[in-house]
Amino acid sequence: MSILYDEGQQAIAREARRVLDARVDKARLLSLLERTGEFDQSFWKTAIEQGWTALALPEAHGGLGLGLVELGIVAQATGAATAGAPFLTTNYGASEALLMTEDAATEAHWLPMLAAGEAIGTIAISEGNEPLPHSIAVKYADGALIGTKPAVTAGLQADFAVVLAADGSKPILALAELRNVTRTPIDSFDNSRNYADLTFAATPATLLAEGNAALCIAREALTRMAVVAAHEQLGGAEALMFLARDYANERKAFGQPIGAFQSVKHRITELYGLVEIARANCIHAAAKLGHDDFLIAAAAARLSATEAYDTAARDCIQIHGGAGVTWDSGLHLHMRRARSLAIECGNMFGWEDVLAVELIGAAA
């Protein structure tokens, strides 16, 4: 199943692009690179005002009752703008995890706050370099968490996290408020992602799911977030393709626009190919939510979006020549974001592996 965006969805896309084009401030984003623990307040205010925090939440909890397709559309716009905060994506992961665990009390407590932009949520699943750890080091006992989750996206700002932990040998998912948790900031090449190691020292946590259900929900929440991230990567890659195109049309060398040289012209055209393959896979994956082959569709979206954004970052800078490698050009904002997004919600090698397992199994 793949879809064409309907009129309402196209309107969301236009409006998101328009609002962010008007408000994005490159100088502010550049300065955030040099500060740890901060994010772009004005972007986050815009996201709340525009209702993006409420977009994919159920109406019963103050949301707009839309879904992954619409959030993906907004994510394309935030990706194009290298938005200075990761909370739309982390909120989505956290809220989807809560909705899947069907714990009415936590839903009623947190989801309206997420919808209103009064709280920030995240998920803390990965350990070591594994997006979904094979053996879980963070422990859960007597209603409390002990141990460290490394480099949690939005970890410096989030009010709560949905945490994958182990109760003895049994995996569990629990919700922890982060008020009293030790947050060690990562001084990162993409600082506005607000990465932090979260250290739980007997932190009280609400048990949400146990055993295989906990693992399944963790994986599903990660996969759904990954599709949002893929849309963000798509938006970034497309923005870079157009920047490269515009520069190649305008910049002259040897008596003609550099875009008239096939080495440049074809390089940009190859980007178009990567962007359109990624777009097709992203739209397909978002429309597949809730179907058996959602995981396969999500993995394909992630791989093609990662390839598109990384390649676009490399090639767009290359096409800009010396002008592309300056600090002030800001093209490195995209290069940094291409990599940070590729790592969040599962790295490329990890998704390759997931997809191979699924396809090889399916062909058995």
Partner: protein, 401 residues
Amino acid sequence: MSDLDAYRLKARAWLESMKPTFGKHACHGLPEDEHLAMGRRYQSAKFDAGYAGITWDPAVGGQGLSPLHKMVFEEEEMPFAMPSGYFGVSLGISVPVVMRFAEDRTWARERGIAALRGEEIWCQLFSEPSGGSDLAGLRTKAEPDGNGWKLNGQKLWTTYAQHSDYGVIIARNDPTVAKHKGLTFFWLDMKSPGVTVRPFRLAAGDAHVNEVFFDDVKLTDGQRLSPVGGGFGTAIATLAIERYSASDPAGFGPPLDLFIALAKDCMIGGRPAIEDGRIRSVIARIHSLRAGLESINTRAMLAMAAGMEPGPEGALNKLVSVRSRQKLSELAIDLMANLGLGWDRDGWLKDDWVASWLSAPTMRIAGGADEMLLNTIAERILGLPQDHRPDKGVPFNEIPV
């Protein structure tokens, strides 16, 4: 169930019923004349069943259905390896242009029906030794001769000219104007005196393309299909007729499932190849690429069903899919190692890695070389500049050779 789904199921059932007579096993290893005869019988069966000329006007023997119906039928037909290749250019390009531009409507209608039934085959005489991508640089001459015309020159890469009864041709009537402006479009009888057809073999061993020589071949002015000097426009219109046809994310080569099955049977370094990270990476990457193309195609069909123009990204299909087929075929042969050295001369592109690999370079050039496709996307979709063209606006006979 939508009408289109019902159409698909009915087409599939009909194709299944034809499989014992015309399918892969029935055709495998036949000498070319018998294979062609089989093709004609299959085309005639399609006509009788209402699967020939799906989008054509019923007045000329067609079905009057949408391009979507045609694409659905082509998608369903592809896995059967039916002997339909002889009629692709004929029915997809040459005959439609004749039916559109020929003045004698009765004659054109007769040709259309004969072609739909597989009784007559038409070729398209465009490319020449001097160039394929640079169509307007062609050199075959059409000179006024009494009330008609006289053709001299040579065409190249003409698909199935050796089996063709007729052809459409573009030739230069005036070398003193810019190259696009001095061209005129005609049809001709391939049995005319002075026409010599010489098949030649391609790298994969097959000989479906030809050199065609014209030595004082006489044409009447009634065979002219364009204004004098207006042939280039007609040629471009010709290329647009086949705009909607089924594409294959596997580049008309083997599907990824066959590669996975192969990897399950092979070993690398004493371990099953299917457990090797390099192989798994290839599987994941090729799947992502082809899934993207599939989604592009699905969205194009949705757009058409909703009465909208499909997006321009469909232009990526051939470029991306055939490159992926070439690479995957190389890797499959590598994986088979010693066991991959055999060559079945009748191997089918969609399940034989060697056949797929040997003809992949042809696919990357025929019907628009990769570089031309990249230029087209760059210029038409992205708005990048045209290449430097030193022959632009220069009279043809003053372009340095």
